[in-house]
């Protein structure tokens, strides 16, 4: 489904990703763990085409998309829920969703709203006036309006209350299971990622250093090690 090979990405001459390899198969839910500044967002933005790749390759389904522009990636089925949500603050919730559904058939937005009913009564509010949790749900809903095959989520739990985290987790698992949406989620929240992902890669200093199983996250030794890695 998605193949990332020897991906090198940087800002100007500062290298951030130094050869990331990642292979994601159909139907999977992949978590990527990493501390602040390890390059998680950089990886997501590179996958979305928002950052140029220095070397390496990205293959999505059958096509090499290494230097494809973001809007073409979006149209070919990749959706992005960025860190900080990036809601259009002056557009209403409805218009935010319409932006997500630009190319989708009629009724897509309604179906998405049925899955996330909490947004229904907020439709006419400006996106910027929503709470953090509501914005996060909106960002996910907006991404879903494009009927994606692959969804990239960057720290969806950042600054969000537990009940909504729960809701997001359930929603993502359901979409993955009923609509075979492939999910790649970047996180620092161990509990959330343990509940959601079936495979977890650890990103450290621009490299995927190892893979762990969700159950390892309940393993105290790993937790200590992970916490220690940040320093």
């Amino acid at each position: 489904m998605l193949e990332v090979r020897e991906l090198h990405v940087g800002y100007g001459r500062i290298p951030i990703l130094n050869g990331v390899n990642l292979s994601v198969v159909r139907g999977s839910r992949v978590g990527i763990l990493g501390h602040n500044g390890m390059g998680k967002t950089t990886l997501m933005r590179a996958l979305m085409g928002l950052l140029p790749v220095k070397s390496g390759a990205v293959v999505f389904e059958t096509a090499t998309i290494t230097s494809m522009q973001p809007h073409h990636r979006a149209r070919s089925g990749i959706a992005y829920v960025p860190q900080g949500r990036q809601i259009f603050p002056q557009l209403t919730v409805r218009d935010n969703l319409r932006m997500g559904a630009l190319r989708a058939p009629d009724g897509t937005m309604e179906r998405v709203l049925d899955r996330i009913p909490r947004l229904k009564r907020l439709l006419d509010r400006p996106g910027g006036a929503l709470s953090g949790g509501e914005q996060q749900l909106l960002a996910i809903a907006r991404a879903l309006c494009g009927k994606p095959k692959l969804m990239l989520l960057d720290e969806p739990t950042e600054g969000i209350q537990p009940s909504i985290i729960e809701e997001i987790s359930e929603l993502l698992i359901m979409l993955n299971e009923t609509e075979s949406l492939v999910i790649i989620v970047v996180e620092q929240n161990l509990e959330f990622i343990a509940g959601l992902a079936r495979r977890i890669a650890v990103l450290q200093k621009g490299l995927i250093v190892r893979e762990v199983a969700p159950t390892d996250l309940h393993n105290e030794q790993f937790v200590e090690e992970f916490v220690g890695m940040g320093t």
Binding site: L50, A74, Q86, L91, R98, M99, L102
Partner: protein
């Protein structure tokens, strides 16, 4: 006695009507010459120093088309906007595209473009193209007489603003434009071809500028240096208005049009321009991000 009083009232009414008409005309012409600049600045954050020359080329397109036998209204409302709009697309592609986000470079590049266009116009059209006289007759208000064309300009400006508002507010194109303006990266992540939006926006801004140039041509006449006559006022209006295209430019036009016309009517023309500048300086002192940087931030 009563009769005299009635006469006085009549005179005052005439004066009031003509004064209002002048103020509206001042607002309308300011609003027209600024809208295209505001769209390009508000949507793309590009400061187009060749804006005055876009107006000039709009005027020339109108004059050349009418003198080639094209119906005057077609030349004004379709021909000139189309020509300047296409020029806008070329300029966006050749000059602006590689400079998004680099304010100083865009200023330098568009400034160079303005000199180039002025030179090209003087070679191509020269200073002696015969203009078109203002159509329609006049309207008598008591002792005063006003050109019906002024009323046409007022109505047209209102129509242009209203339709720009409707397009931005209620069409898919408008939605995409607003979203791209607020967060271009996110818009592209949702499948919006950013470059296409920029090109279309530039086209629209340039076309509206071409329209304004054509509408004012019968009044002002056109020479290759005509742009110089507009550039300062349209910049002051747009900067004071802030980044919100319609509300900002609209409010600034109303404010400046009223202040400068009223001052010019009550005192002397020199003070009219001075009042405009003074208002702008005071406003920007207290609202550095423009009127809409502070209020109406969620508007259009």
């Amino acid at each position: 006695m009563a009769l005299v009083l009635h006469d006085m009232n009549g005179l005052l009414m005439d004066l009031l009507a003509i004064t209002l008409l002048e103020i509206f005309y001042g607002i309308a012409s300011l609003a027209l010459i600024s809208l295209g600049l505001a769209i390009i600045f508000g949507m793309l954050r590009v400061i187009n120093f060749a804006h005055g020359e876009f107006l000039m080329i709009g005027g020339f397109s109108f004059i050349m088309l009418t003198s080639a036998g094209v119906n005057m209204w077609i030349a004004m409302l379709i021909g000139a906007p189309l020509i300047v709009g296409l020029l806008g697309i070329v300029v966006e592609r050749v000059v602006i595209r590689n400079l998004y986000g680099r304010i100083v470079e865009t200023i330098l590049a568009t400034w160079g473009l303005s000199l180039f266009l002025m030179g090209a116009a003087s070679l191509l059209f020269g200073y002696f193209q015969r203009g078109v006289s203002p159509p329609f007759g006049t309207l008598k208000i008591g002792n005063y007489q006003e050109g019906v064309y002024s009323i046409f300009v007022i109505v047209l400006a209102a129509a242009v603003y209203l339709s720009t508002y409707l397009v931005l507010r209620y069409t898919k194109l408008g939605l995409i434009a607003r979203a791209t303006m607020q967060n271009p990266e996110m818009a592209s992540s949702l499948g919006v071809a950013r470059e296409k939006v920029y090109a279309v926006t530039f086209f629209c801004g340039a076309a509206l500028t071409g329209l304004a140039g054509a509408v004012l041509a019968p009044i002002a006449g056109v020479v290759p240096t005509s742009g110089l006559a507009y550039i300062a006022r349209s910049f002051i209006t747009v900067i004071t208005g802030g980044a919100t295209v319609i509300a900002g430019t609209g409010i600034a036009s109303v404010l400046f049009g009223t202040v400068s016309q009223l001052t010019a009517i009550l005192t002397r023309p020199v003070w009219g321009e001075a009042a405009l500048l003074l208002t702008a300086v005071i406003l920007l002192r207290f609202l550095p991000a423009g009127i809409t940087g502070r209020y109406f931030r969620n508007g259009l």
